[in-house]
Symmetry: C2
Subunit: 350 residues, 2 copies
Amino acid sequence: VSSIHDVAKAAGVSTATVSRALRGLDRVSPQTRARVIVAAEELRYVASPTAASLVSGKTHVVGVVVPFLTRWFFANLMDGAEQLLRRNGYHIQLFNVGSRGAARTLILDRRLLWKRLDAVLVLSADLESAEVELLRNLCLPVVTVGVDLTGCDRVGIDDVAAAEVATSHLVGLGHRRIAYVGGNPGEDVHMATAVHRLTGVRRALGRGNAPEEPSYFIESDWTMRGGVTAASRLLDLDQPPTAVVAASDEMAVGVLYEARRRGCDVPGELSVIGIDDHEMSFAHNLTTVAQPVWDQGRIAGELLLNALSSEGPHPRRVVTLPTALVVRGSTGPPAATAPALHRLGGRART
Amino acid sequence: VSSIHDVAKAAGVSTATVSRALRGLDRVSPQTRARVIVAAEELRYVASPTAASLVSGKTHVVGVVVPFLTRWFFANLMDGAEQLLRRNGYHIQLFNVGSRGAARTLILDRRLLWKRLDAVLVLSADLESAEVELLRNLCLPVVTVGVDLTGCDRVGIDDVAAAEVATSHLVGLGHRRIAYVGGNPGEDVHMATAVHRLTGVRRALGRGNAPEEPSYFIESDWTMRGGVTAASRLLDLDQPPTAVVAASDEMAVGVLYEARRRGCDVPGELSVIGIDDHEMSFAHNLTTVAQPVWDQGRIAGELLLNALSSEGPHPRRVVTLPTALVVRGSTGPPAATAPALHRLGGRART
DNA sequence: TTGTACGCGTTATCAT
DNA sequence: ATGATAACGCGTACAA
């Protein structure tokens, strides 16, 4: 409830001096600064951020665009970015845009972003072209994680390689009937990721001289339930696969669940590998390709701070982080004999 | 890049009229309003939120204080609250305070909150007394989830009852050697929750005439790893329990993992029950007491909107949501014979 | 080193 | 119904 005038009066100086003293600018005598600081503390003065923003044009707020708050991957990205940004005096404003298509919760729009933010962080959210356009017109630093926006700084992993490593692991174990449970490239926020991982799987199959059986490629959503549904379709086939690559650990766990439910032994009758190294994966004994999620968020924050501190245009920065195969107990060599069938009576769920 | 003056000029009216027309106030002729709207659209005008805040005193920003972004429970609370608030024109600013004690990431402080927010949502974060004091001095509506702040609106579940139901389920199955794996009440953000759930367990044991064995009460942290550690201690006992109540599903899954790792059959040799109904619990076939997490967030958002729209002080509102026992496969009657031991060689990990 | 005064882009009050 | 104008609270040239 006390303004800069009150502090000025109490310290016996002008408001300009208060402003300078409190913000650590030079051209203020040490004694004066001390008096001002004491007075400000006394009056519990805090400069109004809105007033400051109005004149400076800086809000010290960073917008974070994210498709899901509730999924492990995004929550960890957020966490990594948040800590760094906050430590450097920036506040985080959340834009939870939701999934694509009908499930989309929020369309980014001028009034939502305009004049509110100093920068934008896009966490693996594929945006509509109009939204990308908008982001550009904002004339703000934009950093993305796991998705490409031409010209914007970016951090991510090599999704093609990650899927390739996962698939090659199975090929190396002797599997030839390998299925892929991936995200739906058309309707999903992870469009790019879905495409890249599919590419990686194909590449590994080709290199390993393993066939591509169309019915082994299932599109589903990135959740555990998606994995359950996909596994159900696969295990209902006359010739079920002997191994499954899932595009995420959550989906992989869904596959494990459905296999277990049908009495299909893992890895004896079915090997399963995921991508992510989700925090729960070790409890499921899931083999996976680990990616450093939290670090991707942190580094994205660093890139943002960098862009924020350097005036003018800067060269584009792209950071690609390494992944690593984590072998646990859900993968093994295929059974020597033809596997037992674990079909359920009815038709596969969709 | 266009201000209200540009729109005024383009529409041939004053800035005051532009403001009124665009905000849907009355005392503007329909024709004038139309002209203004067209001009604004033409110029892609969006009112500067900072300037508007400076004069109105309203920021249309709600602060959300949360101890962890990365845990399922909090992410879902956030999600529920976020959607409702955004739909009603409020922006979310994140305050990820982190755990208690040394692990604490962020101390809430005047400059962080002052003049920035219209209201604050505290999601199950136990705050330092100084922070609570600060929150009060902000003179803003404050709503909490799962934690009590005297005078503040609150939504939550009956934690005592939830733990009681979980424990009674085991008692009803015939168990008498029942352990409890709970949060550390001293060092944890969930202080209140930890205390309440412990109370519920004790109450059920007392009512069921089951003994309270001190070595069966383990304090750990609310994660899966905490559950692993706790289970390790319990299974190393000379007389291990026949059943475990875990304060959260994540801990319960940790217990399941450690039991499985030691070859201890669930539920044959050990029954396990959690609290939450975490989205992954069905894959672990975990019996649990479900609570409506997302709804708690949503309702907290509703309370906040309510407080925001009604001027002046209002009577305190407390909403308590129901919980429900979900019986799956991790609980069953105790074995008739004395259970086998599943101790490991060394001393229990701590 | 310090003070004066203008401007940031709105909303709100009053007059018309 | 509309317009002129004073706040809102601060940062910052510029003058002193």
